[in-house]
């Protein structure tokens, strides 16, 4: 018997003995010295899905677009991310350029995206596009670490996102829509450009948005980014920028 069949056989054998139902303690099972308890719920036939059971009790995500926007801004602040809401692409450009000058950026990395591209036009530093045709069609056999080095040397990564989540202050990025896996995590600064329509209330709504956008075939990586990279490993003291970005900017345009 191969390992797969052996493990599945063990699991099936183990599950032939019924256990307590959800929220039920072993001591509440019939035959364990306690009063007999109704039989465990039939498997595969739950009265309610976990998410539906939890939805009324999870942290709030805001009922109106205004509430969601306020909640998102508040949560991002608590996470030590920087949130800006600007009216136009032009204002976003001004903001980004001033950040670039202030920090003396030499080179920023970006990917093709309807918001990123116009905002980046004319930035006072070099740029590095990560998702050019060469990168996407690179032959795996000859692929070198050159592209990784190029990205590693950049001062910031500028990306779009799939959604912003008011409930947690998170940014949803994917490998297909946000310049791959490393653009949003390798450079020391991550700038996210988004539109107000992308704000959703909760994580569950973000999953719905994903299904709507990608149907049944998700990108190979989906990541919920909640604040700049951090660690508490030394004496449980918070330090930002452990391995991922030290700074996270969210620029909402419109």
């Amino acid at each position: 018997m191969n390992a797969r069949d052996a493990i599945l056989a063990r699991v099936r054998e183990a599950l032939t003995v019924p256990g307590p139902g959800p929220h039920q303690r072993a001591g509440e099972m019939a035959g364990h010295g306690a009063a007999p308890h109704p039989a465990p719920l039939p498997l595969g036939n739950l009265p309610v899905l976990a998410l539906e059971a939890a939805r009324p009790w999870l942290p709030d995500g805001g009922a109106t677009p205004e509430e969601r926007l306020a909640m998102l801004a508040d949560n991002l602040g608590k996470l030590k991310a920087t949130f800006h809401h600007v009216p136009t692409i032009h204002a976003a450009q001004d903001l980004l350029f001033s950040i670039a000058r202030e920090r003396d950026w030499k080179r920023v990395a970006w990917h093709a995206h309807p918001l990123v591209e116009p905002i980046l036009a004319g930035i006072p530093c070099a740029t590095h596009r990560v998702d050019g045709a060469a990168a996407v069609t690179a032959d795996p056999a000859t692929e070198s670490s050159l592209r990784k080095d190029a990205l590693e040397a950049c001062d910031a990564g500028i990306t779009g996102c799939d959604a912003l989540i008011a409930q947690t202050g998170s940014i949803l990025v994917s490998s297909a829509t946000c310049g791959g896996r490393s653009l949003s995590v390798l450079p020391p600064v991550h700038v996210v450009v988004a539109a107000p329509e992308q704000i959703v209330a909760t994580l569950a709504d973000a999953f719905d948005a994903l299904r709507e956008r990608h149907g049944n075939s998700f990108p190979s990586m989906l990541s919920f980014i909640t604040g700049p990279s951090r660690t508490g490993d030394i004496e449980r003291i918070l330090v930002l920028g452990a391995h991922g970005p030290k700074e996270l900017f969210v620029i909402l345009v419109g």
Partner: protein, 502 residues
């Protein structure tokens, strides 16, 4: 007492035997537990340090819990999500494997630690790897993967800051979520000075940046990245990884090959289940709304994507988990999402420290599952190291009945090896307690001879008495005092129809 490690005799960590897997006999484990616990308890400095480090946990967690409209109902739902998957585990695993392989990844099945090690070694050999980077993965500690890789001549670097520090120290994690919480910043500075040639510093931020700078080249150069996995989503065939530092994301983005080693119990049925479990894992574990990075991987780089590994492997590890599943009474302990909340609140953990357990998974949940996970030997002594206060059960976001399981383990241990002396003792007590005059006479003898107990150092009581102060015996028995009590109600004549004081 000045020290550089938490016990006077530094804990060697599980002695590593890549071929065998099991470290010490049960008897040895118990003896070592008692010894290490005694040493650690004496180290009041370090216990205070540990308590200080954990003090902030309560406030941040409670602040975050307050954002739930009802945390207790949310726990019911989290329990439901994991209960559902664990009780249909065969179905979940098959669905996960089919979906994941449809996404271009490869699933491997490992019955035990040895099989998992050889699968991973084979993947690494086939990839012609030279450098391996690893993010935090407790299952790899369980199978002693690093030692096995090093024995084959591969260099492997832990990228999680806490795990990296522990790797340099040559120690296993002290706490399965906060691996180096027992280490002071000065010790870390010295360690980095010695191994990385950095300048000494007392700043946690500067120390973190030293590790960050050191690690960046390694991400770019590594051929293989090894991670764990927090959830296996059956519906979509994705693995979910929860982290704060970004090291797991880099580990799964830059190397050519990504290997994830995940226990079979990590299944959930639906993607939507994560909308419940991810926030609760973060809140219970560290008091965050969500950890910094919660990432889902459905396979290697897909067509049209500009980076990511060319190969992705998931190794599904049993290693004793099916044995837990086969015990319906303790089956719910497989619902554990390894948030570490039960350690953070455990009075025993805070007083004996993480190394004393001598197990991969420390604290209350470790004491429940270790006797099942370790094929050989009997780790039931861990279940004795509990005050049964129930703080662990209360803290558990998926409602595992942890402290009752500790009792179940005790019961099972007594059933397996009955303690005849204890049984005789209980019978004698029952006989005396059922005879009031004998009981009174016995009490009179004990009240007069209690002080002798401490002096005599009777072999059976010695250990128990050594660390405890005996109370001074009262001059009169309770019954005597009760009979002659001056009751205000009686004195004032306020009695009910039966003459009892009101």
């Amino acid at each position: 007492m000045p020290h550089s490690s938490p016990t006077a005799t530094p804990h060697p960590g599980p002695s590593i035997d890549p071929a065998g897997g099991t470290e010490v006999s049960a008897h040895g484990a118990k003896k070592r537990f008692l010894h290490d616990a005694r040493e650690y308890v004496r180290d009041t400095d370090h216990r205070a340090f540990l308590r200080r480090a954990l003090a902030g946990y309560y406030t941040t967690r409670d602040g975050q819990k307050a954002r739930y409209r009802d945390w207790e109902h949310a726990r019911d739902a989290a329990n439901l999500a994991k209960w559902n998957a664990v009780n249909r585990l065969d179905e979940m695993l098959v669905r996960f494997a089919d979906r994941f392989e449809a996404g271009g990844g490869k699933v491997h099945w490992a019955r035990d630690a040895a099989e998992a090690r050889s699968i991973i070694l084979e993947i690494i050999r086939a990839a012609g790897a030279k450098a391996i980077i690893k993010s935090k993965c407790m299952t790899s500690e369980e199978i002693h993967l690093n030692a096995a890789l090093e024995a084959e001549g591969y260099g492997v670097v832990e990228s999680d800051l806490g795990e990296f520090i522990q790797q340099l120290r040559g120690e296993p994690p002290f706490h399965f979520v906060f691996p180096c919480m027992h280490v002071r910043r000065g010790e870390i500075s010295k360690l980095f000075e010695e191994h990385l040639g950095s300048a000494p510093t007392e700043s946690p931020e500067e120390l973190t940046m030293i590790a960050r700078r050191y690690m960046r080249r390694l991400y770019v150069e590594a051929d293989v990245g090894i991670t764990g996995g927090n959830f296996l989503v059956a519906e979509t065939g994705q693995i979910s990884i929860t982290e704060n530092e970004g090291n797991a994301r880099l580990t799964a983005a830059l190397p050519r090959v990504h290997v994830a080693l995940v226990g079979i119990e990590k299944c959930v049925e639906r993607l939507d289940d994560l909308a419940v479990l991810l926030p609760m894992l973060a809140t219970a574990g560290t008091g965050q709304p969500l950890t910094c990075y919660n990432t889902l991987y459905g396979g290697p780089r897909a067509a049209g994507e500009c980076d990511g590994p060319r190969e992705m492997h998931v190794v599904l590890l049993d290693n004793g988990r099916a044995a837990i599943l086969a015990d319906p009474e303790q089956r719910d302990s497989l619902q554990c999402i390894r948030c570490g909340a039960c350690l953070n609140v455990c009075p025993i953990f805070k007083n004996v420290g993480g190394f004393t357990y001598g197990t991969t998974y420390q604290g209350p949940i470790g004491s429940v599952i270790t006797p099942h996970l370790r094929g050989l030997g009997d780790w039931n002594h861990l279940s004795q190291a509990s005050s049964l206060c129930g703080a662990c059960t209360d803290a558990c976001p998926v409602r595992i009945d942890i402290h009752h399981h500790l009792l179940h383990n005790r019961r099972n241990a007594v059933r397996a090896v009955p303690n005849r002396l204890e049984r005789i003792g209980h019978r004698m007590f029952a006989a005396v307690a059922a005879r009031p005059q004998l009981f009174a006479a016995g009490g009179a003898v004990f009240r007069r001879s209690l002080w002798l107990l401490k002096k005599l150092r009777l072999p059976l009581l010695r250990d128990w008495i050594a660390s405890r102060d005996l109370p001074r015996a009262p001059a009169r028995s309770f019954r005597d005092q009760w009979r002659h009590r001056a009751s205000p109600a009686v004195a004032q004549g306020r009695t009910d129809a039966d003459g009892r004081p009101q």
